[in-house]
Symmetry: C2
DNA sequence: GTGAAAGCGCTAACAC
DNA sequence: GTGTTAGCGCTTTCAC
């Protein structure tokens, strides 16, 4: 490993290790001249400080963890992009973990973070969680921020979007477009996120005196096959004339299903969905979306995490909600 | 930080720290009974080993670095997904770094990895690189695997795709569809990846006695605006009847450009592109793609990296090429 | 303004 | 099969 360490620098310079260490960290105790000498030698010998020795000594890692269900997802990829940028600006490292929606995997990741490996955690929790104790355990020890997804019964700092309002408004949009039988493709039911979206949908129907269509399908989109056939069955059996989809992964199968069922979007079925697809406009027909500010969410979550590090953040139990934008396109036109 | 450490466990159990350490690592020197006692106590006290102490001592981190231009990109997100899964199976951690195509940023990441922070690196290098010394420096010190992208003049283990053949065949496909003026949207020109794609395109034209249309645009797609207008200008000025796009980010702007220019895809302009868009089939018109096996590339690269760790990989200078698949859809139909 | 010494938590070499 | 000791490379008292 790095053969050139502080001791080596010190001996080359006829200084003590302590002085070199202080000079490298730009301590005010060290004379400008010494600092310059140390820096020059460090550069000459291509000195790279050993992060483990430093972390061990200082009890901090300059590293944060990001726990998400999946990386290969338009929303999470954007959020991670933002998080990595903030972390880099703060000279921190980013560890990535995927839970694949499994509470067990999530639990094991979280528990391992109790070791001090990271200084803080950004998490968008998995759907399927049995015992949630680990959330509290981790947050008692290090700063933690939930982003996008969260649990009702867990307190903490949370960056979310206006799930209730956006679902309500999206549903209202379909109502105004003339839909009478509006279905809902449910997901994330165990999370606040999913509950609020569902409630927004239900309330919008109620407020417009439409049957609260019980035809929700709960989509476990482990794989595309099962997902597509479930969505297709739903449409074929319930014959909705409008669909609000709570996640992108359930909306795109509607396109395939309608093709197979010979239904026209939007004539026979109007569709709107939560999505971060960059090119929803290019679909056939262009897809109406509830667009969450994914990058901003990641950015905000990471920024707050760093404020927590420097004690410039005091509220341990707050939810900050960013606005989604509803973009009406052809798929929901009346 | 973790108040319960090996010393604490040792004193609780009336054992030495060394014995506890050995028991935890399931050493054969320790009796089954002692192991059981240690494990029980570790569980009871929720002991989590300090990774920094361990890494410092053992000179290994159980961590790998993934360096990519962008996370929010269909190809890289899939590759990272695969890499994280392999790493998790091997009980390793994954650090993510984005270069945003900057050689300077890449250089600073790579140089910092000389500290021993990670045991190995998976990298898809940035386009814009001045001094490439750091590649060699890092690979001399720790195992490193290039994936998807690489430089001609850097040796190493490389997992790529059949860039030449796929570009050749895609171009041939447009020729066979009747195109006479086939343009090429160039990118990654500084990388082997980009050079091979370009060469495949050029050779396919030559072999079919078509003018090697000099109308390449070099797309610096920093932002969508500049990208779209460049693509639009290219189409308006050169009037190609076919386009091979070397990256997804240059192909989708063609859809917008054609709309604005009142051109029909595929009637006026046939289009095929490298892409990992999950739903190319749903675009209007469905987009013909050269689909790289992104997940497999990530999986293969990570798997080989772990083989290098365990000395089950001996060739320090090999290129493994996976096959892309060309999926012909409406956008290139004759 | 600089140095000596201790110690972060763990593991490996060497006893016995 | 278990204990003792030393040390990974760094930072931080505490001296002077």
């Amino acid at each position: 490993m790095g053969e050139v360490n502080i001791k080596k620098l010190a001996s080359e310079l006829n200084l003590s290790a302590a002085t070199v260490s202080r000079a490298l960290r730009d301590s005010h105790e060290i004379s400008a001249e010494t600092k310059a000498r140390v820096m020059e030698m460090a550069k000459k010998l291509a000195y790279e400080p050993n992060p483990f020795a430093s972390s061990l000594r200082q009890q901090k890692s300059k590293t944060i963890a990001v726990i998400v269900p999946e990386v290969a997802n338009n929303f999470f990829a954007l959020a991670i992009k933002a998080i990595e940028e903030v972390a880099r600006a703060k000279d921190h490292h980013v560890l990535i973990y995927q839970t694949h929606e499994s509470g067990e995997i999530e639990s094991s990741f979280m528990t391992s973070l109790l070791s001090g490996r990271v200084d803080g955690v950004l998490i968008s929790p998995a759907c399927h969680v049995a015992n949630k104790k680990y959330f509290q355990k981790v947050s008692e020890k290090i700063p933690m921020v939930f982003f996008d997804r969260d649990h009702d019964d867990i307190e903490g700092v949370k960056i979310t979007t206006d799930d209730y309002e956006s679902a309500y408004n999206a549903t209202l949009h379909l109502v105004e477009a003339g839909c009478k039988k509006i279905g809902y493709l449910a997901a994330l039911e165990t999370l606040t996120t999913g509950k609020k979206r569902l409630q927004g949908y239900l309330d919008a129907l109620k407020d417009n005196n439409l049957e609260s269509m019980p035809a929700l399908i709960e989509g476990n989109c482990e794989n595309n096959e099962s997902c597509r056939s479930k969505v297709k069955d739903f449409i074929a059996e319930r014959k909705p004339d409008g669909i609000v989809s709570s996640i992108e992964e359930l909306a795109l199968p509607c396109y395939y299903a309608c093709k197979e069922l010979n239904l026209n979007i939007p004539k026979d079925l109007k569709l709107i969905t939560y999505s971060n697809l960059a090119h929803a406009e290019l679909l056939n027909p262009p897809l109406s979306t509830i667009n969450q500010p994914a990058f901003e969410i990641g950015n905000e979550a990471a920024t707050i995490l760093f404020k927590m590090f420097s004690k410039r953040w005091y509220d341990p139990n707050i939810t900050i909600s960013l606005k989604s934008s509803i973009i009406k396109r052809e798929s929901s036109r009346s």
